[in-house]
Symmetry: C2
Subunit: 227 residues, 2 copies
């Protein structure tokens, strides 16, 4: 008999709305995530949504937060800071990977929602521990995390095209466009066409992206220490 258990009036829950919005966007792309579609999924009038979200941006923010909430931040260990940083970044990527079409929504939410803040703080902790000044840690951390978001949103195959037929078409078109190139003028691009269109292994793709970020941080740190 709690007020949330049995109701005669319909009841929408912002959290449930955000999750089903996320599901919808995952399945059919961000452009399919429309107030009307979401309302329809809950057998409700479009305007009902606005009782729980100020406007569409507010809804998208909630979806972003929903994604960030899944970050499973690793516990601090006694490993060197670089290894721990790697683990934190990997955890971030792992949370984003299931949602390549909408991972971009997290960009402006990291410094707002608690899980994002926790990750940001932990990242800066490790960076300062490694030798960065607080301000440098802020800039380096910011850029690295942004880069990882991009890594996910530009994951080959993250494109729309829910049904495999259109997807296959898009792939073929891309392949055709690349194979139409002159191998004389663009020898390397044409010979790497397959990799450029779709990397051999997605896991490897992500592993490389994270390594690139960590290696960049280490390298920049060395440069800064010199000067």
């Amino acid at each position: 008999m709690t007020p949330t258990s049995t109701q005669t009036t319909k009841r929408l829950d912002p959290a449930q709305l955000a999750t089903s919005a996320l599901r919808l966007a995952d399945a059919e792309g961000l452009e399919a995530l429309t107030i009307r579609r979401l309302a329809q999924l809950h057998d409700v009038t479009p305007m009902a949504i606005y009782r729980h979200f100020a406007d569409k941006d507010d809804l998208l923010a909630a979806v972003g937060d929903r994604i960030l909430a899944d970050i499973a931040l690793p516990e601090p260990t006694d490993e060197p800071w670089e290894a721990q940083l790697h683990a934190v970044l990997a955890a971030f990527v792992a949370a984003l990977r299931p949602h390549p079409k909408v991972a971009g929504l997290t960009l402006y939410r990291i410094l707002i929602c608690p899980e994002g803040l926790a990750m940001g703080e932990r990242t800066m902790e490790l960076l300062t521990q490694g030798g960065f000044s607080v301000d440098d840690a802020a800039e380096v951390g910011r850029q690295s995390l942004c880069g990882l978001i991009t890594l996910v949103t530009t994951e080959p195959g993250a494109n729309e095209d829910t049904d495999p037929i259109a997807r296959e078409d898009a792939l073929r078109a891309k392949r055709a466009s690349l194979s139409a190139l002159s191998p004389h003028r663009y020898p390397l691009i044409t010979s790497a066409a397959d990799t450029l269109i779709c990397p051999a292994s997605t896991d490897r793709y992500y592993a490389l992206g994270i390594n690139l970020a960590v290696a960049g941080i280490r390298g920049v740190l060395a440069d800064l220490k010199d000067s």
Copy 2:
């Protein structure tokens, strides 16, 4: 008397359309770049645009190409590959920087328009010269270039808000949101708040971003050579 000089009928030029579309988007943001607005700028009916572009995506692609066309690729020198790569990436960023609000349009055009292809080929050239396999060069190059695009699109201050009053408001809101945080729970984030909101120097921001990319590449190369 060339057919393009004097005309009684109005004449639209796709290239001019793309440039004024870019100007519009630069000034007021991507969401202000609408078929109707663009048509109005040329004293023409909205549908006239469609005589020159298949649809809006086609127009956006042209805008992306327009940006990439400004890449001033440096001549090959006898410097080490890393220095030359740095110069190429810097040239890329320099082309994007004037257009932070729309730089994302270049993402899917690099491997299509000639200037993008030239840069891609040159990048892969330098990477293979450094010791990467062709496939690794493709993946590393792809991720680095994507990362640099993100660097520009997430440049603090790239937000919309054409007039300085709304811009100042947004900044204040962000500052407030960060300074509302508990310095006890988030000591590093709160103490770096200013830097996180807006880095001290934009030039430094970009220099750091490019260095991060190059250092990452060098580091990953070393890792690959070990195994």
